[in-house]
Each structure stands twice: as C-alpha cells, then as structure tokens.
C-alpha cells in the first residue's frame, strides 16, 4: 500500500481494473438477467419456485458485480471496503425484512384479507 510516487494512474485502485474482470461481471449478470426474464415471461415454472429461481439469479448477479466490478475482496487494499459492505448487509436486510414482517402481521390481524398472497 505504500506509494512512493506521485503519478495517480499508478494507484492500486486504478491498476486493479482489468478488461477480463469487467467482461466477466457483464457476461455473468447479463446471462442471469436473460434467464430470469425468459423464465418469468414463459411462465414455465410455478410461481413460488419461479420466485426462488429469479431470487437466486439476482443474488449471483449481484455477487458477480460486487466481486468483478467493485473489486470487493480480501486483498490488503480493499479489505476495509469489504468489511464495511459485510457489516452493511445485515442492516439492509433487517430494514427490509422487519418492515415487511411487521406490516404483514398488521394486515393479518386487522383482517384486510382479500388476497394476502402476492
């Protein structure tokens, strides 16, 4: 991490970008989104299974983008970005999950029932 130079283009955050990484991130996420779109429009899979499949597609696409595009890894240079992101994820999921759970319980107990399912 020591930079004994003044040329900013030699900074590790510039130097760690590779065409192969960008193409990999692009290809993986594009193919997964294509699969998800195709499955949803063809309605070949029953709804709950379909939701699981597209959720997995989204998960892998996001992981591929975070790894290949944001360079989130355990290298010395990026470890603190990774730590911050890992600590961020529970906050993100808890915010969405708890809100959703609270409102679904509210709807359930106040009997606004027409179609509780999505």
């Amino acid at each position: 991490m020591s930079h004994g130079h003044d040329d900013p283009t030699l900074h590790p955050e510039v130097q760690m970008s590779t065409s192969r990484g960008y193409f990999s991130g692009f290809a993986i996420s594009s193919i997964l989104m294509l699969i998800a779109t195709f499955l949803v429009t063809s309605r070949a899979v029953p709804p709950f299974g379909l939701l699981m499949v597209i959720a997995v597609c989204a998960g892998i696409a996001v992981i591929a983008q975070i790894y290949f595009l944001l360079h989130i890894d355990i290298s010395e240079h990026n470890i603190w970005n990774t730590v911050a992101l890992v600590l961020f994820m529970p906050l993100f999921l808890i915010t969405i999950g708890l809100t959703w759970w609270m409102f679904s319980q509210l709807y359930l107990h106040t009997m606004i029932m027409p179609g509780m399912t999505h």
Partner: protein
C-alpha cells in the same frame, strides 16, 4: 528552538504541510465515498421496504397492478443498456490504467450515451403509464413502484451529469490526483447503480409482473 522560532513570521507561516508523504489521498477519498454509497443503499432499503409492504393486492385498491403494466422484455432492454454502460465505463477506466486519454474519453462517451438510452427508455415507459392514467396518485402500490424506480432513475440522471463533468475535467486538467480520484468514485457510483438495478429489475419489475 528559540533561535529557530524567531525566524518564523506568524503572518506568513504555514501551519500545515500541504504535501502528503505516505498518506494515501485517493484511498481515503474512495473509502469515504464507499461509506456514502452504503448509506445511499439504506435509502434504497427503505424504498424496497415500502414497496414490499405496499405490493399486496389491497394496496392497488382495485386498480392496475405491475402484472398488468410491466413489459419484461422492454425493461430487459433497459437492463442491457445499463449493463453495457457500466461495461464501457469499466473499459474506459482500463484505458486510464494505461494512461490512454482518448480511450478513457471514448469509454466515458459510450457510458454516457448508453446511460441516456437507459433514461430515455425509462422516461418513455413512465410517459406511457401516465397516458394510461397510471401515476403516483393511482394507488399506494403504484406510488411505491414509481417512487422506487424513479429514485433509481434520478441516480442515473445525476450520474450522467457527473460523467459529462469528468469528460471536461479529464480534457482540461489531465490525470491529476483529484481527477483520477473522482473518476474512481464515479466508477463506484456507476457500478453501484447497476447492482441496485438488479434488485429493482428482479424484485420489482419481474416479481411484479408474475404476481
């Protein structure tokens, strides 16, 4: 000590040394910007939560649901425009690695044009919905849908302005520490929009369509 101090004129003395010996300015800024982007992620968390609780059948108040107005392949075209934009920005940054100024500018131009395409498709979609009478005022569910997707679109809009600014700065200032640092933070910002878009596309557009 005292003889040295007598030579210092307090009116002109510099209290801070402006040069940075081993302190890494670019890394400090990009880490700080990453913190900011994570808090931006929390903004999206609240909007996803709002959409989650407002996407029940009764949230649409008997009106149109995303199942009726989402066109998956149209939005897939938007997805590809954004992914290509992110790819070309990345390839531009790869040119920066080799100090290739024209390569970087070409990458920024391509990223800009594709980003404009994404935004144009989004605005066209929203105008189409408005022409069908589907607006934020239609129902709570549609309101949450439009606010979430348009907050993402607003991020793209400001990112596009930022890309234009960076093109001007690269051409006028060259590869200074400030400019390179901003290119790196813009890269982070632009890539994060693609990551957020994956969630928006899959859990709002596709899931809305199949519900």
């Amino acid at each position: 000590m005292s003889s040295h101090a007598s030579n210092v004129d307090p009116k002109t003395a510099e209290l801070w040394d402006k040069s940075h010996y081993q302190h890494d300015v670019i890394s400090t800024r990009t880490f700080g910007y990453f913190m900011y982007l994570l808090s931006d992620g929390m903004l999206f968390a609240t909007l996803f939560a709002a959409y989650g609780v407002l996407s029940y059948q009764h949230s649409y108040f008997g009106g149109p649901t995303p199942a009726e107005f989402v066109k998956p392949w149209y939005t897939f075209a938007q997805t590809m425009a954004l992914f290509f934009s992110v790819l070309t920005y990345g390839l531009g940054m790869n040119a920066l690695k080799h100090k290739n100024k024209s390569g970087l500018i070409n990458g920024l131009i391509a990223a800009f044009v594709l980003g404009v395409l994404f935004l144009a498709l989004d605005i066209h979609d929203m105008m189409h919905l408005a022409s069908l009478g589907i607006t934020v005022a239609t129902s709570g569910g549609v309101s949450a849908f439009i606010v979430l997707t348009q907050v993402h679109a607003a991020h793209i809009f400001f990112g596009l302005i930022w890309i234009l600014v960076m093109m001007a700065q690269v051409l006028s200032k060259g590869f200074t520490t400030d400019v390179v640092g901003r290119l790196l933070t813009l890269r982070m910002f632009w890539h994060l929009q693609a990551i957020i878009w994956v969630f928006v596309y899959v859990f709002v557009y596709l899931w809305g369509y199949m519900s």
